[in-house]
């Protein structure tokens, strides 16, 4: 643990000069995790930058989802420490969006009450819950009939409700585990746009696990490329394209280059096996 502070400074200095002043939001030190015989993480270190959208990408089974599940406290690590601005998970507010919205939402509650549920857990009074939910919906400018039950909505609408449910607590950090992988392509494109808009609006530190490289690069400020397990950081590629990014961004030279670079790193890591 004594080695932690220099490591923080080192990685902060390694980033672009404008970011040098920013302290990382999440610091992961000495993370280890194994499932049966498979060592997923072995003494793994990582800094997650503040106010940025980090995409996590890597070979199948390398532990992309495991990483955010450990950070978000869904899976206990075998060893290691994860701090959020020096605080523990139970001292901060965070949001988590599951891949399977159908099973993550509560079908017995209307969309509105689904979104407000985390406030109920924080013992916020019903009137204020209502007000805050309405404020969030208005702020995000999302047009949805929130009196519907989840099963009366399309997949994309349900996932939007999930995302709003994660945002209602005004989280310091937002985790999304392959949030669009169960949606069709048309809806995925729409949802990328929505997520980007939400990110621009709120500026919340966001960690997104994706199995789609284009999506990972399109949405990210930085793409975290992981190796096969035991996972190492193969590369932590910055994506500099200005926001809001559009369909035109996808064909810009800079974007294409970044994507090609990520693909190259990915292929190298896949072949290493």
């Amino acid at each position: 643990m004594s080695a932690a502070p220099p490591a923080v400074r080192l990685s902060a200095a390694g980033a672009s000069p404008s970011r040098a002043a920013k302290r990382p939001h999440v610091t992961i030190r000495g993370l280890s995790k194994r499932f049966d015989q498979a060592v997923i993480y072995d003494n793994f270190d990582l800094d997650i930058p503040r106010g940025e959208l980090t995409s996590v990408f890597g070979p199948n089974g390398c532990g992309k989802s495991t990483l955010i599940n450990i950070i978000a406290g869904l899976i206990p690590p075998d060893a290691g420490q994860i701090l959020f601005d020096g605080m523990l998970l139970n001292e901060i507010k965070f949001g988590y969006v599951f891949q399977n919205y159908r099973e993550a939402l509560f079908p017995w509650l209307r969309a509105f009450d689904n979104i407000a549920y985390p406030l109920k857990m924080m013992k916020v009074a019903p009137a204020e819950r209502r007000a805050r939910t309405e404020k969030l919906v208005a702020h995000l400018g999302i047009k949805l009939d929130l009196n519907l039950y989840p099963y009366q909505m399309s997949g994309g609408q349900q996932q939007l409700v999930s995302i709003m449910r994660a945002l209602i607590v005004e989280p310091e950090i937002l985790f999304l585990d392959e949030p669009f992988s169960a949606l069709d392509y048309e809806m995925t494109l729409f949802m990328r746009e929505q997520l980007q808009r939400i990110f621009i609006e709120t500026g919340t530190t966001t960690v997104l696990v994706s199995h789609d490289l284009e999506e990972a690069v399109f949405l990210a400020d930085r793409v975290l490329l992981l190796s096969r397990h035991p996972a190492r950081v193969a590369d932590f590629t910055p994506v500099t394209a200005p926001r809001p990014r559009t369909d035109a961004t996808l064909s810009e030279l800079e974007f294409v280059r970044t994507k090609a670079h990520c693909l190259e790193v990915f292929q190298r890591e896949v072949r290493r096996a």
């Binding site: 406290g73 099973e103 079908p107 017995w108 857990m121 924080m122 099963y151």
Partner: protein, 253 residues
């Protein structure tokens, strides 16, 4: 479009067909009229019996016994099922006992309950409740155990305590399966009650009515009582389905 309009009437075809064959069989005397009375004679007996006759009284008695046993079973089995289901280890340790008695015909318990409760209503109601308890318990426990893992995690990640998860998620998750248990439970309770009314010193009830009419060779009345029992069984099932559709609106979606 035309076929859509008539769709709700489709079930009536089976009913009309049955009545037609039945009428034909009695009219052509394919079956001894003493064994199979005409539909008209049967429905006349049903109408007279239900409209101020003895059958109406028997019907109410059977409804009361079935309802009482189902309510008792539900009151015991629902909380017990939730407790058992919320701890898989606890359920596994009792699974064999539950499955064993669930597989034992409840009617085999009549002599035991006769010794315990005598020949009154208590025996009938308690044997029926015994049968229904195990069916409901089994379904509730499985409903709770099979709560979607993602939903439990979602509640946990939003800061719900263990007790909160139990009441806000597990309980509601188990409701569709609980209603399966309640429907099966009430059907089983009715079967046991009717059998009990036939054979263990009953003075009333649909079972008694069927048995007595058969002893007196009053066939229209016997068929009328059988029909009344059928209507009751179907009605109870339908009632639970309607309640489920109203309160467990998300079931199967």
């Amino acid at each position: 479009m035309r076929s859509e309009t008539f769709k709700p009437l489709l079930p009536m075809i089976g009913v009309a067909g049955l009545l037609a064959i039945w009428s034909l069989a009695t009219w052509q005397q394919w079956v001894d009229p003493v064994l199979l009375p005409s539909p008209i004679a049967t429905f006349k007996a049903l109408w007279q019996g239900m409209n101020g006759g003895a059958l109406g009284f028997d019907f109410v008695k059977t409804v009361y016994r079935t309802a009482a046993s189902t309510v008792i079973a539900a009151v015991i089995a629902l909380p017990l099922g939730i407790v058992l289901g919320s701890s898989e280890r606890l359920y596994r340790s009792l699974e064999f006992v539950i499955d064993f008695f669930r597989s034992t015909p409840a009617s085999a318990m009549f002599p035991l309950f006769l010794v315990l409760f005598g020949v009154g209503d208590e025996t009938k109601i308690s044997v029926a409740a015994f049968g229904a308890i195990l069916v409901i318990l089994f379904n509730v426990a499985y409903g709770v155990m099979n709560a979607r893992k993602t939903r439990l995690l979602a509640a946990k990640v939003m800061g719900a305590s263990r007790l909160r998860v139990l009441f806000d998620v597990m309980l509601l998750e188990s409701l569709p399966q609980t209603f399966v248990g309640l429907r099966n439970g009430v059907s089983l309770a009715l079967v046991i009650i009717v059998v009990a009314e036939m054979f263990i010193g009953s003075q009333d009830g649909l079972g008694h009515s069927v048995f007595e009419a058969q002893q007196l060779f009053d066939m229209p009345r016997m068929y009328a009582a059988i029909f009344a029992a059928g209507v009751l069984g179907y009605g109870l099932n339908l009632l639970f389905l309607l309640v489920e559709r109203r309160f467990v609106h998300w079931s199967g979606k």
